[in-house]
């Protein structure tokens, strides 16, 4: 098991605010095509899956998932599926590779590429890509697999209706400019170049 990112003896759950996915992976250069497409995918992912991001740390229930993943844990993010009586933790990693996982107590599925939020490409490879170089894996605890299947069914159905991962239209660019104007003062340009 990986060491926890917090000390269970000292830290209180959610004691730190943390930063959102958008702040960490989009706001550093919000008007670039890469980040415009990423923002589009992030919104698609959120709206289709129904998952709500957990930016606060430490989130103990997400740590229970994340500590079991021993490789490929790049671009991690924590999510909740909020139900009437309780919330189900989902954890997403988006590494620059494809992996197979066989982790006792966890189940995962691959998010369709054109709806997977990160959609990173290797900058050293210059050719135009139809698929991203990263793969997004959504993990849950085994007891929550039923809920992962529900979320995946929604994502896969939606993915069929969406353009390829890096699609950016003139409308997307205009919307990005509008959004940046509205969020003026909230966005730290170049202040945080992802993780």
């Amino acid at each position: 098991m990986r060491p926890l990112s917090y000390d269970p003896e000292l830290d209180t759950e959610f004691c730190s605010g943390g930063n959102s996915y958008k702040f960490r992976k989009i706001d550093y250069d919000p008007l670039s095509d890469e980040c415009i497409a990423r923002y589009r995918r992030l919104k698609l992912f959120e709206n289709t899956s129904g998952l709500v991001e957990e930016a606060r740390i430490p989130s103990f229930r997400h740590c229970e998932i994340f500590e079991k993943i021993t490789y490929g844990y790049d671009h991690g993010s924590s999510w909740w599926l909020v139900l009437d009586n309780f919330r189900i933790p989902f954890y997403m990693i988006e590494p620059y590779a494809k992996y197979e996982f066989n982790i006792d107590g966890l189940k995962y599925h691959e998010v369709p590429n054109n709806i997977a939020p990160y959609g990173g490409v290797n900058r050293f490879v210059k050719e135009i890509r139809k698929e991203p170089d990263t793969t997004s894996y959504l993990f849950v605890k085994t007891a929550h697999y039923r809920h992962l299947l529900d979320v995946m069914a929604r994502l896969e159905a939606r993915a069929k209706l969406e353009p390829y991962f890096n699609s950016v239209t003139a409308k997307d660019r205009r919307n990005a400019k509008k959004r940046v104007r509205v969020e003026k003062g909230l966005i730290v340009f170049g202040g945080y170049n992802g993780d």
Binding site: N85, F86, I88, H144, R146
Partner: protein, 373 residues
Amino acid sequence: MGTDLNLKLDLKSITNITKKNQGQATSLELLHKYSITGNSTELRKQMLDDIFVLPDIALLGQWTTIYAAPNTGKTLLTLWLLKENLLSNNIDGDFVFYVNADDNFKGIVEKTELAEQWGFHMIAPNHKGFSTSQITELMIDLAETGEARGVIIILDTLKKFTDLMHKRDSSEFGIISRSFISAGGTLICLAHTNKHKNAEGKSIYSGTSDIRDDSDCAFIIDKVEGGLFQDEAAVEFVNDKARGDVADKISFSYSKKQGQSYADLVNSVKRLDDQKIGKLKSDAEFKRKLDEDQNLITAVGKSIKAGITSKAAIVKNVSEETGIAQRKIRESLINRTGEMYDLGHRWTIKIGAHNKSEYVMLDPFVSAEEINN
């Protein structure tokens, strides 16, 4: 006497002074320290809402014990009820631990598949290093570390975790369970009933009364005989002890066929409404009474066939033949007189020569009118 009391008081104050000097709290100080008066706001926040773990049967934050005879369907119905709540997202399956200590390997595999499908944790002895003796230690630990809150443990069956026939063991298990419940845990225990039923024909719990006494809620499952299709069984949960808004009675049916999978068996479970279970029970009672009267009915039939048809003569003859009390024969003669075979009538009265009443046996295939003619 007065001197003794003074001496005792002196000793007490000396003990307290010594404790104080050693930086220890006195007993009274400890009692004050343990008092939770003033913490109600905090406790209310931690209080679990009235959420059912098993609909109408077991509440979150309580200890419920379900008693039934072997093969009544307690595991089946517990799993079905759990499924109802899991699939309607009323409880989080990640906190549900079903400890299946009463199954063979095939049963464990089939039930684990269901656990994966519905989303809860299945634990079985000798798998992944678990042994039944660990459960009490785990419950103590969960209570002490504050991790018990929201955890639901289902023990199938309880006798694998404590000796129900042994008062001290049961009582110790009760203390551990209560500390787990007080810390916010939920415990559901499945246990057996006695082979022998009580005077009313109802099942009674097996073992000492400690488990039933210490539980918040206890149910006894009884099979309801008769009425359904050949491969169907009806059972009734009857509340024996309640703390909270649980049902007094609730009934289910399930269909058991040879070669069917456990998943199919679970899928065959249905709730029975009050009307249906009422009909089943009255049918069962009807059948029971008919079985009980069978000797008497046969004897009355023989008497009538032999030409003994008056009431007094039948009573006398049947009593001599069978040894059944004359009062009972008279009662049955009245109760089973009528024209509806399906309602349990077995003879009718025909007016014979000289206006004399004669008993005539009913034929299920011939109407009473035809007999009278």
